[in-house]
């Protein structure tokens, strides 16, 4: 700044204006000099930094019609149909529930599951998840052959054991705003269930971890 003022000394009347002009010039030089590289960046950025790009939207995933609203972010809801009592090894049940994008922006979600309880051990409760299937349940408790299917009858090999370590069922499934997925879950007690699992119980948590897509 000092440099810019120096020439203004002799002519007092013009000094303010000259220095102002010089400053303006300096400003201009500085500005353009600094943003020469950023010029394209600027125009490119201006598109993204424009008013409209502020995300006033909401991200909200609902599970089984529950957990709507930001207040329920990270919440949990119990799917009542996913239950089975008096299970013997090899029995399974299938049920469906919707997962929906209740927000205003598209999202992608990952689905991971963890098991808990006495059946969340090797050869304990195992699960499969398919999307868009129809749940069919056959058999009876009296004959010990209850079997659920989401298209294919559950077996030890097409279901995944869930323990306290998370297992991934799906990654990056996209849901547009307002769209929903039908999640079909088969829960099965392994036919290899060890003797120690008699009389034990277990549950599973299926976590739909959603993330905003793009801006």
């Amino acid at each position: 700044m000092t440099q810019h003022r120096r020439p203004a000394g002799p002519s007092k009347r013009r000094s303010g204006r000259t220095r102002a002009l010089l400053s303006l010039a300096a400003v201009g030089v500085l500005a353009t000099g600094m943003s020469v590289k950023g010029t394209f960046a600027f125009w490119t950025d201006s598109a993204t930094a424009a008013t409209g790009s502020f995300s006033a939207g909401t991200l909200d995933i609902t599970v089984n019609g529950q957990l709507a609203g930001q207040a329920n972010n990270g919440g949990s809801t119990t799917v009542a149909s996913l239950t089975l009592g008096s299970m013997v090894p090899g029995e399974s049940i299938a049920a469906t529930f919707p997962v929906a994008n209740n927000g205003s922006v598209p999202l992608t979600y990952n689905l991971t599951g963890t098991g808990s309880g006495g059946l969340a051990v090797t050869n304990g409760m195992q699960y499969s998840v398919t999307f868009g299937g129809t749940a069919t349940n056959t058999g009876s408790a009296a004959t010990g052959n209850r079997a659920g299917s989401c298209g294919a009858v559950a077996t030890d090999t097409n279901t995944t054991l869930l323990t306290s370590t998370a297992s991934t069922f799906a990654t990056a499934r996209a849901l547009a705003a307002g769209a929903s997925d039908t999640v079909c879950v088969v829960a099965r007690l392994s036919s290899q269930a060890p003797n120690a699992l008699q009389g034990l119980s277990g549950t599973a948590s299926l976590v739909f971890d959603s993330k905003q897509v793009g801006a």
Binding site: K12, L24, L30, S46, G74, P89, S201, G202
Partner: protein, 460 residues
Amino acid sequence: MRRLRELLLWAGAALGLLAIAAGLAVTFLGFGFLIFRSGSMSPEIPTGGIALSRSVDAADIEPGDVVSVTAANGERVTHRVVSTTLRGDEASLVLQGDANTTPDAEVYVVRSVERVVASAPFGGYVVAHLLTPPGLVALVCLSLVLYLSGPARDEDDDERDDDRHHHHDHTGEGAGARGRGDDLAAPHEPGGRHRGARRASVVALVAATLLGSTSATLASFTDAGTAATSTFQATSIATPAAPSVAQTSALNQAATVTWSATPVGPNGLTASSYDVLRYTAATGGTAAVLCAGNTSRTCVDSASPGLLETYYYAVRARYGTSWVAEGARQSYQPSLVAPVFSNNQPSSGTVVANDLRAALNCTGSAPACGTVSPIGATVTYSFTRVAKRGAECWTGALWATVCTGPVSTNATVTGTTWSLPGIEDNAWPSGDNDRGTYTLKVTATNTFGSSSQTITVTIL
């Protein structure tokens, strides 16, 4: 009006200086600005916030820092550091927005990041609006208006302005010193408006500076919804009842074990198969497994307890490959009886020696054999004949005219089978001298008594 202009001029001047400082900081010290386009770092930095950031090396990143990185999709993301793992001069960062429930899916590998030094809400809206072409034009117009409105007032103030400069000149200070004097005097001098206007025009620099160094940052939202299953309950095999154990027959001390079906769960399901376990003690001990995988719920033991011995039987119900349930033990002691012969050969009667031998079917071509129950009996025999040479005795190998030793000799007993020593060709010869009457008497004895059977054969 004048006050307002003063205010604007000074505000502009201050902003201008700030802008220059910021410009220098950006250019030489690695500072930058971040505009927050979404609210995942709220409430600390809401949507539309602006933050001052400074570039730091990977090694200087610490958990808890708010840093800005470029995600794989090219978007700039500004989140809080959850963990950092340094390898060489690269750090692997796990970031999570304050408003997010889970960390970002992506692990960012960086050599340096923009660390947020300070932040202010709403600043991002202002800057973002100013950075649009219309915003810039408006800014330049504002600056020009302030600048052009300045000289009109200047006419009145020139005298004083000149005087001041003369005064300073008289003191013999240099141009540089005078310049400094201007700055110091400015707040008190109306002539400061020259510089005010000039500085106000510097406002344009704010935009230009921020423009060159501002990054819009995306703080993407996440939301985790959890579907919890209801309870899955494994059922269990009921404890099997103690089985019924009965002696197989009066002559067979072995046990026949029977039992009722064992329920599995409350819905009428029963065990799919059973094992029978035989112990030699009421509790503990190691079991012998009988009739493994039985489904008829009846099992005959092949062994039976010896004298003064008790067996204990339990049922083990099975379901599937692995589920088992063992029931209570049932003790068993057979009703012990005196031994009884059966199936003895040869039969009494009159027969040609060749036919007799042909009919015999004893192991090892024994002269006589049979079955004696229960197991454990001692069998003795007396085998004599009266032929041409008179009375003779079987020695166990041949016929002798002089009977030596005890009249009764032990037969060979294996399990429940007894047999006479010797071979049938010698005991039942077919010579002329051998025709006569043969008498075999076998006696089986155990603790509870004895029984005998006599076989009389006339050889023609």
